[in-house]
Amino acid sequence: MRRLFLYLLIIILGGVCPTGCRRASDGEDAFLQIKGSDTIVNAGQMISEEFMKVNPYIFVAVTGGGSGVGIASLINGTCDVATSSREMKSKEIEIARKHGVEPREITVAFDGVAVIVNHNNPINQMTIDDLRRIFTGEVKNWKELGGKDMPIVTLSREVSSGTHIYFKEVVIREGKKDSTAEFSSETLLLTSSQTIVEEVVNNEAAIGYMGMGYVSDRTKTIKVGKNGQDVYPADIEHVQNKSYPLSRPLYFYTNGEPQGVLKQYIDFTLSSQGQKQFAESGFVPLEAERGQKN
């Protein structure tokens, strides 16, 4: 839904622009394509709108689809920035180099993967192991976790989602590289984070996960803890001090060192103005530690 809305917006803006913007004698017309993570798509849109207010001759298009879509698009050379809620896999970097793309990783914000259930669900907290047992299908009824007697409906994103892959690596496979555990095949693979929220609102037995930016009062976010340790809520404080176990960085990937207009955009994202947008969308902005590795 959200993605379609964005496409629509882009088409409308794209249609308006050629007639609306005139080239200024000193300004430089430019077009940036930002693609990837649905987790960051709203924050990215807000940053881009702010950026376009400051730089009216640079047009920035933001689309979602999933981190995998952004990364594939960067490799295929169809976007300038791939936004991602997971690290690029070594295999992807290898493929990128084969296509002549040198991925550069920039950490832009931090996020906690929130686990949500319906408000009528009595469960308030869980360990990583409980989550693993639920999402691999080992536990099939809420009764077994002390909840109501109803079958658990597990909700996930499609395989193109970075959050899907993050969750698989950290929860399903418990961070073990050699694990081959998979999501239970009964898991519903939904097309957007918003669809997960809708289903949890409508379904008492559902459990889903998504980036903090999609948390609202309409669903209950449960506290999560490492096995045998204290549980913490997915909020800014506990993601910042990393005590929330499903904390992760959010990335921008560019082809090589960003230059010109692209550098302007990245610098804006990392500036206090850009970081403010992340905070407003519910993410944890970068603090003093401004990461630019690789």
């Binding site: 296509h99 409906v153 095949s185 939904l190 669809t195 379904n203």
Partner: protein
Amino acid sequence: MAKKINERIIETAIRISGFAVIAFVFLIFLFLLKDSLSLFRIYPLKGFIAGIRWLPISEPPSFGIIPLFMGSILVTVGAIMLCVPIGVATALFIAEVAPKNLKMILKSLIEILASIPSVVLGFIGIVWLGPFLKNTFHLTTGMCGLTGVCLLAFMALPTIISISEDALISVPRMYKEAAYGLGATRWQALWRVVLPAASSGIIAAAMLGIGRVIGETMVVMMVTGNSPIIPHSILQPLRTLTATIAGEMGETVGGSDHYYALFAVGLVLFVITFMLNFVADISLRKNRK
């Protein structure tokens, strides 16, 4: 003389466009074939056709098409069982029973029905139909095959109604008159004479309806839950061939095994719809004789 040249030009243009269409279909087929055959250089054909697990991004991946194929078949069969009786009954009503004014209104309403975008239907499915079916049938989730079946049946209705109506109208009047002459009631004449006489057209309508349903993407991707399991009932979540391509195509890099696997899924879909259209065409032709 000038007239003749004009005619020549027009004739050639028409002929070229006719051949172009054939060439396009053929080229699409070749394109699909080329990229899907590349899959079988890295992945066994048997594992694709008979595999029961679809795990495209695992290491190593498994591209078993059976769950997707079964998902597509199940929603299609369900949708057709729901919409063919309703569609044919509506067509009978429009062609034989309805007064002229009502007929006009119904026909234009059905055209409007055909023009509702599938995303809109999918949206209705998520926010209204899914929760409604969940509460009515006490399902674990509204994101299941049944929601998809209802919406797909709704989408196939216009096709089925208009083609069956054409078939019913083209039944010679003499048939009906002869039936009345033998003392048949209106119902008997419709049920025993007109309907069987139009049967091949109705089969063609059903076939084209199936083609419409099996190729539909947006609605099923939005409402059926997309779990790659082999569904045992229509009340379970399922994943179709089309939703798989649409959901995963964006994240594949050109030339990867996942990319080729999606082309192979596309080829399967193409072959299915091609055969359906072929059968529909044969029965339509039989109808005209």
